[in-house]
């Protein structure tokens, strides 16, 4: 049964402790529902043990719950098998694994990797670094003034020497929802180029199915989808799992060790060396349970409508320029206030208990390509309301008065 949007806020304890808080920085991290916090507390209070080690009941049950989350993740994203899921520190580490333990050994001089101009630094720097180490070329699909990817350009950039295409599903600055099916089919048709999708802003917020989209790698972080900080996911299509080498070395990732050699476990366990973030993974499981209680089509429409309502309010102020105007978008809005620096806008809103982000949002090249030094970013989640939007618009009206 779907949770009702009207009562959803009551599931988030932070709003009980801080009733005045208007939290509009959800693209940075979402707030956590009680069920997630309680699951983590319960684990430490009642179930704490290491996984894949002990023969006693506590350890066996921790292992079972930890491994059980692999199934939950695979079902959330429509993956065929739980064994396609690796637990990582976050989307950033997941991308680094693919860049360094999969792509790097294949890249040679004259090859190229294609990304887009709207990538978060996490989906830019790992590729930029391996390309520079391997003398390969990093190609960038441009973004037009509206904040949409130029698919015609993408078609021209992908060629027989392209070893990977990495694109974000949703821009963390503009809110653009990219047509990933189209992009993936373009890459696959061309030369069967593997595609990595950065799902940090999309998974748990809009429906995602790795089989239907036929993507090859999907990365995301638990903390942006109501889960705990410090836990992330790498999904890898089965045909590539044998091509990924261990990323860091240590216990828990091996079949057999002698002083000269190590025989590693298969994917995904060979990527999970050391004691993993067990409460983080179990907390991610609780976040998925929470998300499964939502109707993602309904919540996506809800947050999108909040952003439309907010943009209408911005237009009525007259001194605001919204960044981009993408064809398909979610609940993220970036804007500039005429003659007032984004930090001053965010500082003013902070005084009114309204939390927003100001700066380049870890996407410096995107803003540079649009000729903007920095923006204010508002990002909505399911617990935000029209009242939050009204408060933000009222504060921006006050700001205009203050600086004029």
């Amino acid at each position: 049964m779907a949770l009702s949007i009207d009562s959803i806020k009551s599931h988030f304890p932070i709003f009980i402790h801080r009733p005045e808080l208007v939290y509009l920085d959800n693209a940075a991290t979402s707030q956590k529902p009680r069920s997630v916090i309680q699951t983590i507390t319960d684990f430490y209070e009642k179930e704490n043990a290491n996984v894949h080690r002990g023969l006693y009941e506590l350890s066996a049950s921790a292992t079972q719950r930890y491994e059980g989350v692999r199934r939950k993740v695979s079902e959330l994203i429509g993956a065929a098998a739980p064994q396609s899921i690796t637990f990582t520190k976050g989307a950033t580490e997941s991308i680094n694994i693919i860049a360094r333990s999969f792509l790097k050994k294949k890249l040679k001089k004259g090859d190229n990797v294609v990304i887009s101009a709207m990538e978060h630094h996490a989906n830019l720097i790992p590729w930029q670094q391996v390309c520079s180490q391997c003398d390969a070329e990093l190609r960038v699909i441009p973004v037009n003034r509206d904040g949409d990817l130029s698919l015609g350009q993408a078609d021209l950039l992908l060629d027989k020497d392209t070893k990977l295409l990495a694109v974000t599903h949703i821009s963390n600055v503009l809110g653009t929802i990219n047509p990933i099916e189209e992009i993936i089919s373009l890459a696959h048709k061309k030369k069967n180029i593997p595609v990595l999708i950065d799902g940090a802003q999309s998974v748990g917020h809009i429906p995602m199915n790795v089989k239907e989209t036929d993507l090859d790698f999907l990365v995301f972080s638990a903390h942006k989808m109501f889960g705990p900080l410090g836990t992330g996911v790498l999904y890898c299509k089965e045909e590539f799992t044998l091509q990924i080498d261990p990323y860091s070395f240590g216990g828990g990732s091996i079949k057999n060790v002698d002083l000269e050699h190590t025989e590693f476990l298969d994917y995904p366990h060979h990527l999970e060396a050391g004691t993993p973030n067990i409460p983080g993974v179990i907390g991610l499981g609780a976040a998925i349970d929470f998300v499964n209680g939502l109707d993602l089509d309904e919540t996506a429409t809800y947050t999108k409508n909040l952003s439309i309502y907010f943009k209408e309010g911005l237009r009525s102020l007259g001194n605001i320029k919204v960044t981009g105007n993408p064809m398909n978008f979610n609940g993220i809005v970036s804007f500039e206030v005429e003659n007032i620096h984004p930090h001053d806008v965010a500082g003013f809103l902070a005084n009114e208990n309204i939390a927003v982000r100001a700066g380049h949002h870890c996407a410096q090249p995107l803003l540079e390509s649009m000729g903007i030094p920095a923006t204010v970013r508002v990002s909505f989640s399911i617990y935000n309301t029209k009242d939050d939007v009204d408060k933000a618009i009222a504060a921006l009206t006050g700001l205009k008065r203050f600086w004029s």
């Binding site: 007032i340 620096h341 984004p342 930090h343 500082g347 380049h360 920095a374």
Partner: protein, 149 residues
């Protein structure tokens, strides 16, 4: 921070942000110092004319928030006509004051005291100190270089 200081902060930061002191590009100036904060993208260039003893003129230009712009404006105003040594002392006084370290009260002008407002907003420390830190490093480097035989 008390209400008086808050009012002072609002008044001085606003005044300097609206009409910054010597806010213009001066490519003809002899010395250019860059002040850049990669976290927020604030980027100023300071233009100085000085000899081994004295700073005759200080201008600045660039992009930044009201606090960084106002503090850089106060900076250019404070160091003009000062000896290099005095300018370093002024930088130290301002930075110590922002960092809530003991400072000689007599050296604190209203324009300095206005920035006590950032004590309530530690996330804005870097905005207030950006240009001061760069100028201090530049001047100290300059003195050590000129002291060399």
């Amino acid at each position: 921070v008390n209400a008086d200081l808050k009012a002072l902060y609002t008044k001085i930061v606003k005044a300097h942000n609206d009409a910054p002191h010597h806010f213009e590009k001066r490519d003809d100036s002899r010395y250019h110092i860059k002040a850049y904060n990669p976290i927020c993208g604030d980027r100023f260039e300071l233009y100085l004319n000085h000899n081994s003893q004295r700073i005759d003129q200080a201008h600045f230009y660039g992009f930044g928030c009201a606090i960084s712009k106002a503090s850089t404006s106060v900076l250019t105003k404070s160091i003009e006509g000062k000896t290099i040594e005095d300018a370093i002392t002024i930088c130290n006084n301002f930075l110590q004051f922002i960092n809530q370290e003991p400072v000689d009260r007599l050296t604190l002008t209203d324009e300095f005291r206005a920035f006590a407002g950032v004590h309530d907003f530690p996330e804005r420390y870097d905005c207030a100190t950006l240009s001061w830190v760069e100028l201090k490093m530049y001047l100290e480097r300059h003195t050590t270089q000129t002291e060399r035989p």
